[in-house]
Amino acid sequence: MSFLGKVWAIVVKDLAAELHTREMVSAMLVFSVLSLLIFSFALDLRGAMARAAAPGVLWATVAFAGTLGLSRSLTRERQTGCIDGLLLAPVDRSAIFFGKALGNLIFMAVVEIVLLPLFSALFDASLLRPGMLLVTALGMVGYATVGTLLASIAVNTRAREVMLPVLLLPLAIPLLIAAVQATSGLVEGASLGEVGGGLRLLVVYDLVVVAVSLLTFGYVVEE
């Protein structure tokens, strides 16, 4: 079995488990919609103000919903003992990591696919642009990668799920700043070239966290 085959097998396993229960994606979706409503009430978002706040609210929602999904994804591995099975299997640790991260990325993408049109409608901000696809993809790759690494740590602590947001959110600050700035630019009608600063920062963040995660994941799961 090739490396990619192994990664894909883990992704398929996660997708199958999720199709059975649908608990992760549905929880993330409902939470996202709730968060959207709460932000609208709390900040009284209407008209031009709603448009201005949309990128920030979108990424805050994605970040919080992401921690829910990431926690669940790794807690499930632990509860079912599946992670032990994976570690015993003759596969590279990096294949396990990529498989888990890719699975989490897919779940977050599903949520995002629902969120983007919803935001565009409710906040009267046109988020459905080709450039947004790139910004969203870059943002989610970084978030899912560092999130998968930290969730693997968090599920093995005493505080479990509570630990993940505390560990993850301070490290996600550069990613969120870059993503919000790039999204704001695009909403205001800037071209991809004009939001290049944000995009470059997202690319560098993604590269750094992928490299560091690959180097350290083995130490997280070793027993």
Binding site: L149, M163, L167, P170, L171, Y219, V220
Partner: protein, 229 residues
Amino acid sequence: MGEKRGVLGLVLASAGAAALMAALGMVFLYAPREATMGDVQRIFYFHVASAWVGFFAFCVTFLAGIGYLVRGERRWDILALSSVEIGLTFITMTVITGALWARPVWGVYWTWEPRLTISAVQLLVYVAYQMLRASVESPERRARFAAVYGIVAFATVPLSWFAIRWWRTIHPDILTGGEGMAFTPRMSHTLVVSLLAFTLLYATLLRQRIRLERSSDALALLRARQPTN
């Protein structure tokens, strides 16, 4: 061997104390009064020095984390945890002195100024690091997780810095001149002595914290050996 180390510690502590006294004297007596900000600017010397020690301490934790993952020896973990505690203390001082300085100069305690913001972000990151340590029972696993988190955390620090700086900047830019403070040679001398004093203070504290952790390890070992009755 033990005696030599004791002498070294004493020398380090004395040098640190002397340098701190010198820095304090220079801050108040040698450095000139800043033209636009007045005496409040004198907080700058200790503010910058504690920011430097905080950053340096987290860098040491990062390197110690790599050392631990490569070697798996307890001493690297002791170095990491000792340095983080000192770093947290100094970065907290940076944030507080920054707020105290901001109030008379900018009229508010808090501005989202890049260097102040990155200090606050680092404070949060390493508070999370400490919470992680507290939440893992097995000492070996705690060391491993902390090492990984220390590495990921430090790798994102420069990115946070660029992101925040790019986000907004109104800080007096002392290094490149720019707008802000006019920097005289006396001010540079005072800053250099402050940096030296705080670095010596860091070294002294680090040494003591490592000794404390070793003693507590030795005590735990003795307790474990002793039959319970």
